[in-house]
Symmetry: C2
Subunit: 261 residues, 2 copies
DNA sequence: ATTCTCATTCCATATAATGGAACTCGATTT
DNA sequence: AAATCGAGTTCCATTATATGGAATGAGAAT
């Protein structure tokens, strides 16, 4: 739900971005007073920050005085997406995996306590594709998220998990650090993570971790399917292939890449 | 090519964002010294700004020490895109226009001297769709861009045009303010803008302006086609329909919306 | 080894962000 | 109509923060 602020703010910039983050993570439209209640800052200060963000095109005011993120971000994101080498490297592998399974394949990375989806390959494109790329989900109830966590050094994983704001999405959602940590052990041992309808009812997936050598980038890929059509056994049958695809992508990654966290 | 800096910087935030902008607008990968040569700031200062951007996940360092935009922007952009009411309102109209013409339909808005594409409807989706959304093009050689400029108050249009860095993409590209202004008059009179292979050889389009009542949002939509298959006459045949679609979208827009510029 | 270039860190100073209080504007109530 | 309330906006002395010149560190080229 909310963003995880791990370390100290990055001065003025950090505060500004955290305003964006609050708005991006909010499910309801936010007006100024809503922002003020979510961000611990004097109204005058907050107001100027918001004004600056608007001036820069990073934020917009809607007709009803609620805020939404500015379209200038689109240009930035388009560049980010197309230039991203991690995604470029993974792409052909994702396609191959989709050909094999016939089901939807996701690629995502861990960012704080969230998974951000970088790519998606699916057959019937009835739903608009781009609506998925860039979407984020909690790390503790998604295959990609748990896969990513499982390859972090244990202390780092614990640190991230401490910042999670658990929320029970379905009956099978893990809602505490202990059960999550226990499952990470399993994942580390087998190499596969599962989402057993933990995020959305009727949707499950099998995933495997992808990571740069120094673990500065961790994420994963998954094969997702509706449980009414694909059984848990069938999902299990793909586990090895998913692992193998992840391994192939890992092998293609340069020795060192990416940002620190 | 480069970004247009219209007014004074928005303090610290503005400087940070302009760093992002330089990187987003660069066609070659940029290392620190490249950045330093494009941005008029002491190296120490610039370095700290870059560090902050990296810490915030807005920037990444590649293996070769070049920078690219951070994946955190994806999440922001996904929200921006999906929440954007302008796009939501236009969407069904774009589909209808595509059904009618069978050709690619674009929706874009003016941002400074650039057009940012918000949506695209096309039949054969061989090329990945999302690779288009968020892409930007110069305003002076695209149908959507010229359509948008044509509905700005003349003084504002002149202001923007003054910031254009003209570049000759093809033989028919307009490369000076005078011819562009003259064409804007024509567009204002007829209600249709054309890109006569001015950006990419072999590609032309017919467009019409879309705008909020107070002109705080200006943009347009276009039907684009390869000239070998669709003649200028056929393009002309769609002009009225394109105008009508734009009119319908304008009618659907709320009375007041969006950011100032 | 030595000399480059490029990247990074440091710290006194100046500048820009801060935040409390006052003000405006609309809507709602008396 | 007048008064009250809530939300949003502006102001300005104070303080904290960004600044940038200079020194250091890390690689590559000679």
């Amino acid at each position: 739900m909310a963003s995880a602020k791990l370390s100290s703010d990055t001065g003025t910039l950090g505060k500004a971005i955290s305003v964006l983050d609050v708005i991006a993570s909010a499910q309801e439209p936010m007006r100024f007073k809503d922002l003020a209640s979510h961000i611990d800052q004097p109204r005058g200060t907050l107001h100027r920050q918001v004004s600056n963000l608007i001036e820069e095109g990073l934020l917009q005011v809607n007709a009803d005085q609620s805020y939404s993120l500015g379209l200038r971000l689109l240009k930035f994101a388009a560049q980010s997406w197309s230039q991203n080498s991690f995604r470029q490297i993974a792409e052909p592998h994702l396609r191959a995996l989709h050909e094999l399974t016939g089901e939807t394949v996701h690629l995502g990375i861990l960012q704080g306590t969230e998974v951000i989806y970088l790519d998606k390959v699916e057959s019937r494109q009835a739903v608009r594709m781009h609506s998925q790329v860039g979407n984020s989900s909690p790390c503790y109830c998604t295959g990609v998220g748990k896969a990513g966590l499982s390859v972090l050094p244990r202390d780092q994983a614990i640190l991230r998990i401490a910042n999670i704001n658990f929320q029970q999405f379905t009956g099978s959602t893990l809602t505490n650090s202990e059960s999550l940590l226990a499952e990470l052990d399993e994942i580390a041992a087998t190499g596969n993570a599962y989402d057993r309808e933990e995020h959305e009812p009727g949707i499950h997936c099998v995933a495997a971790p992808i990571y740069s050598a120094d673990r500065s980038i961790v994420g994963g890929l998954s094969v997702t399917a509706p449980s009414y059509r694909i059984s848990m056994d069938q999902l299990n049958g793909w586990a090895a292939t998913v692992r193998e695809t992840a391994r192939a992508i890992n092998a293609d990654l340069p020795i060192k890449m990416g940002p620190r966290a």
